[in-house]
């Protein structure tokens, strides 16, 4: 997480803070298809904001509207106090880093970075200095004279970033910026991105379908589905207290047990199977007594034991599958009613000494605060 976030950067909790971007009742339709459905959203200066969702959820459309590549059908988008209606892309203090990088193949790395500067009111004498500064920022000084096809994918990604940042935009849009990189490079680059965002103080809005990436880089995440914002919150809250089963299911791995809510209070009991002890969990949003509800819990919060443990919630089941991931293992346990519950534990012992194996009868247990009861 960015360090300014760790040190209490949370303008969204401050009612007096002025947002850099606000969406007010924004709707976008393509013919009969509604891509964005009446969205209200505020993004604050210096935020690293992630739009997360499956493909076709409208996240890219939302970003392209910020960049000026799509018109708004209804509602208004305001950037830095200015209504963006009718303002074309080339008149916005917004720059975009394209998914394909869109580097100009006929121009050298330095000329690509200088492209926007040459069309701004920056004096010619200062352009070279600014280009050098950007090359230093992304550590590509040696490659200034190369053409885009003469450098690696990771370097191209950095050129695209430098080019988009060269004009010092108020807002930088990043469309799946790391999608074309392999996993290792992607992880390194995530930290580089955060570092650069902090150095330049630019507000970043990133579009991604990779929830891990969003969790790593973002100060806040907006989870989208079908043109709607399902939840807008910090990564830890999106993970720990999802407001819907959809969000819980989309972010990370989760166990979902469906049933009916009973005794709604600070905690809620979920009646889930005939004759089984109800499950107790934290009360999530919009849960009502007697209504259908789901209990969601992360696999790493479920303990697995061969003997009956002392715990608020415990169920017995049979191990049907073990996924060995190296650093951890996920046990798939079938409960008597057929529900599969996953439990994840760190492999802090060597695999040969593992005492749980296929077909074993085991106890799964968790505390009464580990999971969440949500309305379906």
């Amino acid at each position: 997480m960015p360090s300014d976030h760790a040190s209490g950067f949370a303008p969204w909790e401050d009612a007096d803070a002025t947002p850099l971007i606000s969406f007010d009742g924004v709707t976008k339709r393509f013919g009969a298809f509604t891509a964005i459905d009446n969205i209200d959203l505020k993004i604050y200066p210096r935020e690293f904001f992630a739009l997360l969702g499956p493909s076709g959820c409208g996240k890219t459309t939302l970003m392209r509207m910020l960049g000026g590549f799509e018109d708004v059908t209804e509602g208004t988008i305001t950037i830095d106090g200015q209504n963006m209606a009718g303002i074309p892309a080339n008149k916005r203090a917004v720059n975009m880093m394209f998914q394909s990088y869109a580097l100009f193949p006929h121009l050298s790395v330095a000329d690509n970075i200088a492209f926007g500067l040459k069309r701004s009111d920056m004096p010619k004498s200062e352009i070279q200095g600014r280009v050098d500064e950007m090359l230093r920022l992304v550590q590509l000084q040696k490659f200034a004279k190369r053409k885009p096809h003469q450098i690696s994918g990771g370097q191209r990604q950095r050129v695209a970033l430098a080019r988009a940042l060269a004009k010092a935009p108020k807002l930088l849009l990043l469309d799946e910026p790391l999608g074309a990189l392999d996993k290792k490079l992607r992880q390194e680059t995530q930290f580089e991105l955060m570092d650069i965002q902090e150095k330049t103080g630019t507000t970043f809005v990133i579009v991604t379908h990779d929830q891990e990436e969003a969790m790593t880089v973002a100060s806040r995440i907006a989870v989208m589905d079908n043109g709607l914002l399902k939840q807008v919150d910090t990564p830890d809250r999106v993970y720990e207290t999802p407001n819907s089963v959809y969000v819980a299911d989309f972010i990370g791995d989760v166990n979902i047990i469906t049933g009916r809510a009973a005794e709604v209070g600070e905690k809620t009991q979920l009646i889930w199977a005939e004759g089984a002890t109800p499950i107790t969990g934290m009360t999530g949003s919009r849960v009502a007594q007697g209504e259908p509800a789901s209990f969601v819990i992360r696999p790493e919060k479920v303990s697995i034991n061969k003997t009956e443990p002392e715990a608020a919630n415990k169920v017995q089941g049979k191990v049907i599958d073990i996924a060995y991931l190296g650093n951890m293992s996920t046990y798939h346990v079938a409960l008597p009613d057929g529900t599969i519950v996953k439990s994840q534990t760190a492999n802090n012992r060597r695999i040969a000494r593992r005492d749980i194996t296929w077909e074993d009868q085991v106890w799964l247990s968790w505390t009464d605060t580990a999971g969440l009861v949500l309305r379906d």
Binding site: G67, G68, F69, P88, A89, N90, V94, N95, M96, F98, S100, A102, F104, P105, H106, F115, G116, R119, S120, K147, H149, R163, A164, K167
Partner: protein, 295 residues
């Protein structure tokens, strides 16, 4: 097996290009004569080695010197170059917007547009050029139309002028300009234009700073494909051009068929070929560079 495959194109070139070229060169070095064929010396292989030496001794560069003495020839070469260059430029002016329009047309329209570009090839080239006579003559459709609209009162003389030659060349070679430009424009990544706009360009600036430089290989290929055949063009100037339209293709034809001076005609052809070799080499260099850039 591999050598055999590689040798096929070389064999083809040898039989259909190098050998005929050798024959033309041989005739160019001979002298005109009243005989069949109408030049001397003839190679008489029955006399063996001495026959060959006698033949060799009579070959000279006289006809090439003649080409420099009579100013008709270099004027015809220069005039051909001028006409070919102007016609190529005009074809580019007409062809680029067509290619651009095709590349930006909706996907389902493109095959139809492509067909429309290629369609004229289904009719004989000669017939199409003859058809232009009907359009451009004093009583032709174009003059009738212009008089009907009131733009001109008297029929304008278009046929048998250089203008008619330009119209003919632009019309005939347009597809050779449109297709390579279309091919490069179609490959052009649309997000590059969005990126240019994002970085502050207007649509027009984005065109000049992104589309134009990136379509350069197609423009160069198209220009060569028009320029090379236009330089030696014979049918269009002789059908549409006037008596004062001087093109080397026409001169060549007259030397061969009106004057029956095969040696001088061959010398004209050899020089024309040498003039054409320069743009062909440049063209291939451009192709090579493009291929390297794509790798």
């Amino acid at each position: 097996m591999r050598r055999l495959l590689i040798s096929i194109p070389y064999l083809w070139l040898l039989i259909l290009f190098l050998v005929p070229f050798g024959i033309v060169l041989k005739i160019a070095l001979s002298d005109v004569a009243l005989s069949i064929p109408p030049y001397t010396p003839q190679l008489d292989l029955s006399e063996g080695w001495t026959g060959f030496r006698a033949f060799w001794a009579e070959l000279d560069l006289e006809n090439f010197w003649f080409l420099t003495e009579d100013d008709l020839y270099w004027k015809a070469y220069l005039s051909s170059l001028k006409i070919a260059l102007i016609a190529t430029f005009l074809t580019l002016l007409v062809g680029f917007p067509i290619a651009y329009g095709m590349a930006n047309a909706p996907d389902h329209w493109r095959p139809t547009l492509m067909l429309l570009i290629i369609l004229p090839f289904w009719t004989s080239f000669l017939i199409r050029v003859y058809a232009w006579i009907g359009i451009l003559s004093n009583e032709g459709f174009l003059n009738q139309f212009l008089i009907w609209t009131g733009i001109i009162a008297e029929p304008a003389k278009i046929l048998n002028t250089d203008i008619a030659v330009y119209i003919g060349i632009v019309y005939t070679y347009l597809p050779f300009m449109v297709l390579p430009i279309y091919a490069t424009l179609e490959k052009l990544d649309g997000t590059l234009l969005e990126a240019a706009e994002d970085l502050g360009c207007t649509r027009i600036q984005a065109f000049w700073s992104v589309t134009a430089p990136l379509s350069k290989p197609g423009i160069i290929a198209g220009c060569f494909l028009v320029f090379i055949p236009a330089l030696g063009e014979f049918v269009i100037p002789s059908l549409l051009g006037g008596s004062d339209t001087l093109m080397i293709g026409k001169v060549l034809w007259e030397e061969f068929f009106s004057n029956r001076d095969w040696p001088v005609a061959s010398a004209v052809a050899v020089i024309l070929l040498l003039i054409l070799v320069v743009p062909i080499i440049l063209f291939q260099r451009n192709e090579q560079k493009q291929r390297e850039a794509e790798q």
